[in-house]
Amino acid sequence: MMTDSTMPAQATAAAPSEAQAQLFPFVLQLADTSLILAHRLSEWCGHGPILEQDLAMANIALDFLGEARSYYQYAAELEGKGRSEDDLAYLRSAVEYRNPLLVEQPNGDFAGTIVRQFIYDCFHYHLLLQLKSGPDAQLAAIAEKSVKEAAYHIKWSAEWVIRLGDGTEESRRRVEKAIENLWRYTGELTTPSATEQALQAAGFVPDYAAIREQMDAHIARVFEEATLAVPVGVFMQKGGKDGRHTEHLGYLLAELQYMQRTYPGLQW
């Protein structure tokens, strides 16, 4: 890049560093992931199995939505093309979305939602612990705030995995079915995409092998208490982080983006 001494000083000061600019796709991926999971959880609102759990799911959805907004705002800043958080969330197509496949899976029954949540919480919590001491100050600040919420989420979802696994015959059958359905999406979380690999080399994205170990230990502990078996030898699906999604995401986005697509360019 050519340096020009006549360039206004503030333009260079406001622009993110070259290393930071590389972070854009990763921050966007974090934003998409939190938004899609928040959206799925919010679908339960008013339909939960117990009023207290309806409240809990809305609460967790709100945490993820808040986290998504922080990431989108930061991503917009990193990109520096004048796009807003809403432009990024509402005006990108399914193939541009970068969330892992797990979080876009439909809610299913309460067991399906709990298993999806618990697995993601395990990844999310351990990821945030790393990001909060990472080299990027802004990402560290978002992680610092979010990890407190994630600690509560993982406690909530783990407790439900235990209740359902070690509850009744029916709850056990349902939670086992959910694990069987969703396990194939668990590998992608810690399989770095090309973007992540590059950022890992630069130190911006933590080592996923270490996170995987912590996750697996956490899952094993909770499954043991729930008297559930950890599946082995499952073929792992991936692609979400590169924009190749399951069919479910298109429907979700059709609903999520309906207003912005129908009435382009308006303020709400």
């Binding site: 609102c45 199995p49 939505l65 907004r69 809403d86 009744t168 009435y263 308006l266 303020q267 709400w268």
Partner: protein
């Protein structure tokens, strides 16, 4: 026996008249207890069913900020339901029984939630008009004679006034937006205005429970008084927004320092109460379905708690 009862009854009324709060352990007439259980559970049910018409739009909210506010608002309603059920439980009602009465159709909830939410402007109208009407109904309840209900209502009202402001702000944003958005706002108002006026209940002449409830200070204003207050409060706000209230008979009355307004369509009101509103069936079905599909979850939680208790007993 009879004289003793009368004395209790008289003492009770004397406490009410002196504005002393009635607490769960105090003696109270059966009819007072029944009236309160009916009213509080109906109120709790309204919060629960009321989550559905707005919940409808959480997944379609037009911006991340709006989505977040709407989700938080609907979650508040779940919270209101929770403390109202708890208040009713202090009178000896069980949550299971109250829910069973809702699901069987025996217990009522506010009819307003049997109207559909068809556009984003409806999120504005529900907040601005429906919550506005609810606040007028509920603020006096912060001083209602039964302590736990009054205290629950203090919290509910604080949150409701925030809800109303966010509804008004949605309307204001629409009215300051494109012609399409302004039309959306007007169309919403056209549909919600009359059903909102019905939220205050039948005209005083047709409201059989009002006199007793006023006497027990469960209720502090009559239905017609509150309806008038609402119209007087809302018309200037509609004018500020540049919207037209859909009532050709609406006119300022200098002598009474309030608006005259047209007749509410009571036939529609009773029809919706009887179950013939656009969404009565869907709303109730959605609640029944959530409850039935949640049965195995509740059973699992109980079974697990029981297992845990037994294990702890063995360990000890």
């Amino acid at each position: 026996m009879e004289t003793l009862e009368l004395t209790q009854e008289e003492q009770f009324q004397a406490r009410i008249d002196a504005d002393v709060r009635i607490e769960p352990k105090d003696w109270m007439p059966d009819a007072y207890r029944k009236t309160l259980i009916r009213q509080i559970s109906q109120h709790a049910h309204s919060e629960l069913v009321g989550m559905l018409p707005e919940g409808n739009w959480i997944t379609r909210a037009p911006s991340l900020k709006r989505k977040s506010i709407l989700l938080a608002k609907v979650q508040d309603e779940a919270g209101h339901g929770l403390y109202l059920y708890s208040a009713a439980e202090t009178l000896g009602a069980s949550r299971d029984q109250m829910l069973a009465d809702l699901h069987s159709g025996k217990a009522k909830y506010s009819s307003i939630f049997n109207y559909p939410t068809l556009s984003w402007a409806d999120m504005g109208c529900v907040g601005w008009l429906v919550d506005g009407a609810a606040i007028l109904n509920q603020v006096p309840l912060c001083r209602t004679s039964y302590g736990p209900y009054a205290r629950a209502m203090v919290r509910v009202c604080k949150e409701e006034s925030f809800h109303q402001r966010q509804g008004f702000e949605i309307m204001q944003t629409l009215c300051e937006g494109s012609p399409e958005q302004k039309a959306m706002a007007q169309e919403g108002l056209n549909r919600w205005w009359w059903p909102t006026l019905m939220m205050f209940g039948p005209a005083d002449a047709d409201s059989p429970n009002t006199a007793q409830s006023m006497n027990w200070r469960i209720k502090r204003f009559t239905n017609d008084e509150l309806r008038q207050k609402f119209v007087d409060m809302m018309v200037p706000q509609a004018e500020f927004l540049g919207l037209t209230v859909p009532d050709p008979n609406l006119k300022w009355n200098e002598a009474k320092q309030g608006y005259d307004f047209g007749d509410v369509d009571w036939e529609e009101f009773w029809n919706v109460v009887k179950g013939n509103g656009m969404c009565n069936k869907e709303r109730l079905q959605a609640r029944v379905q959530a409850h039935e599909e949640g049965a195995w979850v509740r059973e699992a939680a109980l079974a697990h708690a029981e297992k845990r208790k037994q294990r702890e007993a063995v360990a000890a």
